[in-house]
Amino acid sequence: MEFSPVTANLSPWEPGVFSLAVYAALVAGLLCLILFLTVWLGDKKDTPEKLSPYECGIIPTGLSRLHVPVPFYLVATFFLIFDVEAAFIFAWAIAFRPLGWAGWLRISFFIIVLLVSLLYLWEKGALEWAPTYRIRPAKKTVS
């Protein structure tokens, strides 16, 4: 099969972009219409009870502005790092044939570096959710 770049269909200099613009406008219009209708048609009675947050029927304690624990931040960071790297790999996969073996070698090196860093993080305990609070006795397993 002849290789043809995917980008060919998206060339801005072809009239195809017009239909894209119309489509975008339609989507935006529909969104506005739906938002307007829900706001206008919906019956609203804003009482303090109704505007208060739902927490199983109880008035919540404290504010929602808390110091977020570090593990959440770490997970977010790792996700970002590994996700961005995935973007490189996808790009390479699309250009798999033109890049040839040279590309394959380079991306393999890239992936290995990634794996090594992942193992390093694992080893460091960065993937542990939190320190274990309690040590459980060893137990028999049920057959």
Partner: protein
């Protein structure tokens, strides 16, 4: 359903009428009920969702967990004063338009719970569209209620409201009812003000000339102490001398009166040194002795401590006299940490303070409640108190969770309420957790949202009349609840139950065990993310309900056992459905297990989660499957057989792991064992009477009443004011589905109990939840709740 609009054609704008039609039609077939249950009724509401009744046919099967996504609130069950503010808040947090269905007698009018803690009709705080009668209503009744609501929706005029025009109606418009103006809480109807309710003249403390006082009964049962118990009595006498006095006679277990100042020594001795050691604090409660007939023989208050020894399966009761009017005793929380809740309960209900208690505050009643309900001077009926109003529900909010979980200054842990309204709390229970990330660092519980005042009701209903209330204590166990109560009464009055009645009782109790474990299986799996089992297990459950209905005529609450036996003989053709059921059930159970037992997601959610050690389980008085999952092979049916269980061949499953998965395995295995018992009971059903012929206590057979005058007289007396039970006390516990449920009945020689105490298995099990949950993830708490499988009317009573 046809669209019959009530307006006159031509007057209303045609366009608006057309919009009305379309909007109403759409709304009536797409109702979104909130996943909201208060008590027993919700079980029938859940049954409506499943295959046999199939709510999906009405387009209303999608239950929403949050009020923000729901437009139909079905108040299924008893509305308690403690939970009423929550119900109101949830209602107000629902979007417009919204509708309300009141389901069941309790929600409609308070029903059989005319008691201090129950709102006498939810329409006093919320507007209601449709009332469904029944206790609980059958699933068909719910469907009927839904169809009525659909009809009502079809008659609304929403279009004017939608287009911001004048007029039009949608949602609930019925006004809230006000007692004395638009409704009357008196069940007899209006106009009876000042006329006391029937029977109130004989209810303590204001009884005069009760005819029971003039009746003769044989003395209460009297036991001979066994050799081990005599040794125990001697060792206590040798060690404590005058401070420990054995009771003159006892109907059930060795009983001692202990001097208040030596109590802790005696308890410490019994727990650590005595032979055998009494390791479990079985129960701790109090009696207000102020309205005894022979007042001079009793102190103001009596504290009752009941201990259990695992070593030789025996119990002992200690009684301590406490003088009033501001009674105070010593706390034993340093000997048994499990005494914490028991002492708080006694403080809450009797106003009896405990010196040295770490945290003595109300446990069951709301924090700002006035008075102590189980004192004899406290009114028992809600109708004798001021009506609970919409304003009350708005004002009296549950305490802030920050007060329960005390934090050091500057601590910024997230504090989260799980419950009282939550899909996974299995009822009205409030967990408060302090979270560090997702990790639970601290947890406390607020119970009492389901307190139905059963113990107080027991003091005003005759011995027979109280039976229906026991059914509702653990609403998934049905008649199994009748059994411990009746056994206690039968022990006290020394009533012999015929073999056939014993077998019938066992048969039904085990059917209800299956019923509960099937639901538990489904809800536990549901809590861990598997929706499917619900639809399967409810199929088998309906079959069990069919059998129960064939035999008893009822579903959830048959109230079918009677003093001395059961209400009637087994009907013709009772055996075939049971045999059919036995044939298919094992294969079905295998099918269910195939979905869940080896399911990797389920295992990941439950294995090594919610660990409860063997020692903790013994120490905290945990019973039932939770205890057996912690490696203790303890089942009252084997250890202290009752009602003929010794005649049956079955095993007691137990597992060592002590985690949620082990609890699940115990229940699955118990289903197999229950089936074995059912098979044996059905096959070996002995002939003979189904109820004792001691007509002094039981309800005489109708045929006998037509032949001899004695039976006729007893029939008359026992049906009206009820039998007289000799003065004394007795405790009997049975292994109901959740553990040991025991009834401690105290009779003052009247036609109703002087004090009725329920030792609830879940009270102890729930108190132990922090041991399992601390240090786990928030999501694990849900698995733990599912695996403990508690039920709130049993916890709160």
């Amino acid at each position: 359903m046809g669209a019959h609009l009530p307006h006159k054609a031509g007057k209303e704008n045609r366009f608006l009428s057309a919009v009305d039609l379309v909007v109403n039609w759409s709304r009536q077939y797409s109702l979104w009920p909130m996943f909201f249950g208060l008590s027993c009724c919700f079980i029938e509401e859940a049954a409506v969702l499943t295959a046999r009744y199939d709510l999906a046919r009405f387009g209303a099967e999608v239950m929403r967990g949050s009020p923000r996504q729901a437009d139909l609130l079905i108040i299924s069950g008893t509305v308690f004063k403690k939970v009423a503010p929550v119900v109101l808040k949830l209602y107000e947090q629902m979007p417009e338009p919204k509708w309300v269905m009141s389901m069941g007698s309790c929600s409609n009018s308070g029903g059989m719970y005319d008691v201090y803690s129950v709102v006498q009709g939810v329409d006093q705080i919320l507007p209601v569209d449709v009332y469904i009668p029944g206790c609980p209503p059958r699933p068909e009744a719910i469907l009927h209620g839904l169809m009525l609501l659909q009809k009502k929706i079809m008659q609304e005029r929403p279009s004017r409201r939608i287009f911001h025009l004048q007029g039009g109606t949608q949602g609930t418009v019925t006004p809230i009812r006000v007692d004395g103006v638009t409704k009357n809480r008196d069940a007899r109807g209006p106009g009876f003000n000042g006329v006391p309710l029937r029977g109130t003249s004989v209810t303590p403390p204001f009884f005069w000339e009760s005819r029971s006082a003039g009746m003769w009964t044989p003395p209460p049962r009297r036991i001979e102490l066994s050799a081990a118990e005599q040794t125990l009595a001697q060792s206590l006498a040798a060690r404590f001398g005058e401070a420990v006095k054995p009771a003159a006679s006892s109907s059930d277990m060795p009983t001692f009166t202990v001097a208040g100042d030596r109590l802790k020594e005696v308890l410490g001795y019994l727990k650590y040194e005595a032979e055998p050691r009494f390791r479990r604090l079985d129960d701790l409660t109090a009696i207000d002795e102020s309205t005894r007939k022979e007042r001079e023989n009793y102190p103001d208050y009596t504290l009752v401590y009941q201990l259990l020894s695992y070593e030789n399966a025996s119990r002992v009761r200690l009684k301590v006299a406490v003088p009033g009017p501001e009674p105070e005793a010593v706390s034993i929380t340093d000997i048994w940490p499990a005494a914490n809740w028991y002492e708080r309960e006694v403080f809450d209900m009797f106003g009896l303070r405990f010196k040295g208690h770490p945290d003595l505050r109300r446990l069951i009643m709301p924090h700002d409640w006035e008075g102590h309900p189980l004192r004899k001077s406290y009114p028992d009926r809600a109708t004798a108190m001021a009506p609970y109003t919409h304003e009350d529900a708005r004002k009296i909010q549950p305490l802030d969770a920050g007060i329960y979980l005390r934090r050091p200054q500057g601590d910024e842990k997230l504090i989260l309420n799980v419950g009282p309204h939550h899909i996974s709390t299995h009822g009205l229970m409030r967990f408060m957790v302090a979270l560090e990330g997702e990790r639970i660092t601290d947890i406390d519980m607020d119970i009492g949202y389901h307190h139905r005042g059963v113990e107080k009701i027991g003091e005003r209903q005759s011995w027979h009349q109280f039976i229906p209330y026991t059914d509702r204590v653990d609403y998934l166990s049905g008649v199994s609840n009748n059994l411990p109560y009746l056994l206690a009464v039968e022990t006290l009055a020394d009533i012999k139950v015929p073999d056939r009645a014993k077998f019938i009782r066992v048969l039904l109790c085990e059917l209800f065990r299956l019923n509960n474990h099937l639901i538990s299986f489904a809800t536990f799996a549901h809590d861990c993310g598997a929706m499917t089992p619900t639809f399967y297990t409810f199929r088998e459950r309906e079959k069990i309900m069919d059998i129960v209905e064939l035999i008893t005529g009822g579903r959830l609450h048959p109230s079918w056992f009677r003093i001395g036996g059961v209400a009637m003989d087994l009907p013709e053709g009772w055996k075939e459905p049971i045999d059919d059921f036995i044939k298919t059930f094992l294969a079905r159970l295998k099918e269910y297990e195939a979905i869940i037992t080896k399911n990797p997601i389920f295992e990941a959610r439950t294995r090594e989660v919610g660990y409860l050690s063997r020692d903790d389980a013994l120490e905290w008085g945990v019973t039932g499957p939770v205890l057996r999952a912690s490696g203790v092979e303890w089942d009252l049916r084997k250890k202290m057989p009752y009602s003929g269980y010794e005649a049956f061949d079955f095993d007691v499953p137990s597992f060592e792991d002590g985690d949620c998965y082990a609890r699940y395995l115990v229940r699955v295995e118990e289903m197999r064992q229950s089936l074995r018992i059912i098979e044996q009971a059905a096959a070996q059903m002995p002939p003979g009477r189904y109820v004792t012929d001691e007509y002094r206590y039981s309800l005489p057979a109708k045929r006998d009443t037509l032949h001899d005058i004695e039976s006729l007289i007893h029939h008359f007396i026992n049906c009206t004011r009820g039998p007289k039970i000799p003065r004394g006390e007795a405790y009997q516990a049975t292994e109901i589905v959740r553990g040991e449920q025991g009834y401690y009945v105290v009779s003052d020689g009247g036609n109703m109990a002087y004090r009725l105490r329920i030792r609830a298995p879940d009270f102890a099990n729930v108190q132990a939840i922090p041991l399992m949950a601390r240090g786990e993830l928030l999501a694990d708490l849900i698995a733990i709740i599912g695996s403990v499988d508690f039920i709130l009317p049993d916890t709160d009573r």
